[in-house]
């Protein structure tokens, strides 16, 4: 059984209420931070913990916090990114549904460290019922003196609000999130200036993922050292993984980083193996934006070592034979799944979600979708496959925000690892409409 730092109390009846949460030791981190620690020492513990952003990029949280500009007389803002729209990702939802007070507690401790007087939780509008869960919990926190003026009789005052989006994946990108929070279209901003210098209403702003902010609670309670003792190398602590696709037990699992991928997929404690006794074909390990890996490369690295659930191990081999931990959206494909169809589906997603500001992204995602549609529906030509790679390269690195890269990587990696399947679609246009390519080895025998 792996240790649970965040979900430990998730199953306790009534844990969404203040009373039950408090009885389980809730808000101890706020007491400790505000009464026994300085803001600097909270920041130090977060640095020592080695916590890395759980939203996708994996940037060290402590370092990010230390970049926040602190000009005199200008308010600073803490924003919680609860947009959770990356296909395959549904973990922040669980945290907020079950443990709204954990997020609030984490945000109070974080805001104290950062010197923020006001914070907002920006949540995707579709999570409408969670808006209410959070607002009820926030009201309870105010009523019990954990939010508002002079918390616990200290000089620290802090206000927290929830504000919803309205359906736009791009608003998970932090500058688009800020624009949206200002009541505008979610068009990402050019950087610099970075939000840490000029973000919400031109004030220094820090954006963190729900899970990152929740992790601050065990870090304050037990110390950064204890957190960093869990995990492996620079992948410290636990991570929530939302697992879906052709597995026996889809759901959200809190794992200790460093768990072997094979164990995660096949052990009964986690995914419970592939459904219907089928074989594993491929995995997208960190949300739709990260490269897809075929079975042999997700279980072992190219060097033949066990692949682990960690930032480093999943990235081992770079984009030639590796992928990324990303948001922890773990999508599993069995032998019956069509890689071409799945790639087309994702490219339709990115085209739909492109904000349209930069032409490589706006036009490129449209092209990717069209060419993939053609290939999937039996009208493709051999050179379309290289055309996909060419378009991906032209998008990658040439856009305002990383959505362009996120659209390009899945396509490039699918072609890299499953070129034979794309070629089969071209060679066998009729057959490819009737059945799937299956596992490559089997197809060779066809």
């Amino acid at each position: 059984m792996s240790r649970k730092l965040l979900l430990e109390h998730a199953e306790i009846p009534g844990i969404t209420t203040y009373e039950v949460y408090r009885r389980q030791g809730g808000y101890r981190a706020v007491e400790k931070a505000l009464k026994e620690m300085t803001p600097e020492s909270v920041l130090d513990e977060v640095k020592i913990s080695g916590l890395r952003g759980r939203g996708g990029a994996g940037f060290p949280t402590g370092m990010k916090w230390s970049f926040l500009a602190k000009p005199e007389g200008i308010p600073r803002y803490l924003l919680c990114n609860a947009d959770e729209s990356e296909p395959g990702t549904f973990k922040d939802r669980l945290l907020m549904e079950r443990l709204p007070h954990l997020l609030i507690e984490g945000m109070i401790a974080s805001a104290y460290a950062l010197g923020c007087r006001t914070a907002y939780i920006y949540i995707r509008g579709e999570y409408k019922w969670i808006v209410k869960t959070l607002e009820r919990a926030i009201a309870e926190a105010y009523a019990n003196g954990w939010l508002g003026e002079r918390i616990l009789g200290t000089d620290f005052s802090f206000d927290l609000h929830v504000t919803p989006g309205a359906g736009a994946y791009i608003c998970g990108e932090e500058t688009a999130l800020i624009e949206s929070l200002e009541g505008k279209r979610g068009n990402p901003r050019l950087k610099p200036p970075f939000p840490a210098v000029s973000g919400l209403w031109n004030s220094p702003t820090l954006v963190n993922n729900v899970e990152s902010l929740c992790a601050v609670v065990p870090i304050v309670n037990e110390g950064g050292e204890a957190f960093s003792a869990i995990g492996i190398g620079r992948s410290t602590g636990t991570k929530l993984i939302s697992a879906c696709g052709n597995i026996n037990k889809p759901g959200v699992y809190e794992i200790e980083l460093g768990l072997p991928v094979e164990e995660f997929i096949y052990s009964d404690e986690y995914c419970g193996g592939i459904k219907n006794g089928k074989q594993l074909k491929a995995v997208v390990p960190g949300g739709s934006s990260v490269p897809i890996l075929p079975a042999h490369l997700i279980l072992k690295t190219a060097a033949g070592e066990d692949r682990l659930m960690s930032y480093e191990s999943l990235a081992e081999g770079g984009f030639v034979s590796g992928s990324m931990l990303g948001s922890g959206g773990f999508i599993v494909y069995d032998e019956d799944q069509c890689i071409v169809r799945n790639t087309w589906n994702f490219s339709r997603f990115y085209h739909h979600e492109s904000c349209g500001q930069c032409s490589p992204c706006r036009e490129g995602t449209g092209w990717l979708e069209k060419v993939l549609h053609r290939l999937e529906h039996g009208h493709g030509r051999m050179h379309d496959i290289d055309l996909l790679v060419d378009i991906s390269k032209k998008i990658e690195g040439n856009t305002i925000c990383p959505l362009g890269d996120a659209a390009a990587w899945p396509v490039a990696s699918a072609v890299r690892h499953f070129r034979d399947e794309f070629e089969w679609h071209v060679r066998e246009p009729q057959l490819s409409q009737q059945r799937n390519f299956g596992l490559a080895r089997e197809a060779v025998a066809v």
């Binding site: 990702t89 939802r93 409408k128 309205a166 736009a168 009541g183 052709n246």
Partner: protein
Amino acid sequence: MEAVSTKEKNQASFSPETMAEIQRLLPRFPEGRQKSALLRILHLVQEENDGWLSTAVMDRVAEILNIQPIEVYEVATFYTMYNLKPVGKYLLEVCHTGPCAIEGAERLLEYLKQKLAIGIGETTTDGLFTLKTVECMGACGYAPMMQVGEFYHEHLTEAKIDRFLEDCRAGKVALGTWKLG
């Protein structure tokens, strides 16, 4: 966006409850930054206006927030949760992104299309149902899924869809509200 007759223009007014809710939201943002409440206000008034935003409704929101109507239109046209045309009483939003597609979202969409005799984006003649596809809703492990009003319906099957549509017709399905009350 559709042209509006001058008759319709600026005639929208909101219920006292909605106005009270709006007043409750504004102080969450610093003085002069009330535009930040726009997205939430649009959700509220869309709910009151039978699930869609008419130009008159958007113009009234602009008035309340003291911003230009174009600032409201810009937002209303960007986000997929806002409907710029009338929709049925029950807006069926079916996710068709990768993980849901693996679990049969496309089959389910076909089933709904046939059962309701409408295409995607269309409304049944009795005004009860509108069918819409949406992108990943954060329910990938409980696929296939659709959202109706406030609620997620997960692990969908044809039998569950049948039952659900009957419940809608019998008026037994709650949609939830953006109002906190």
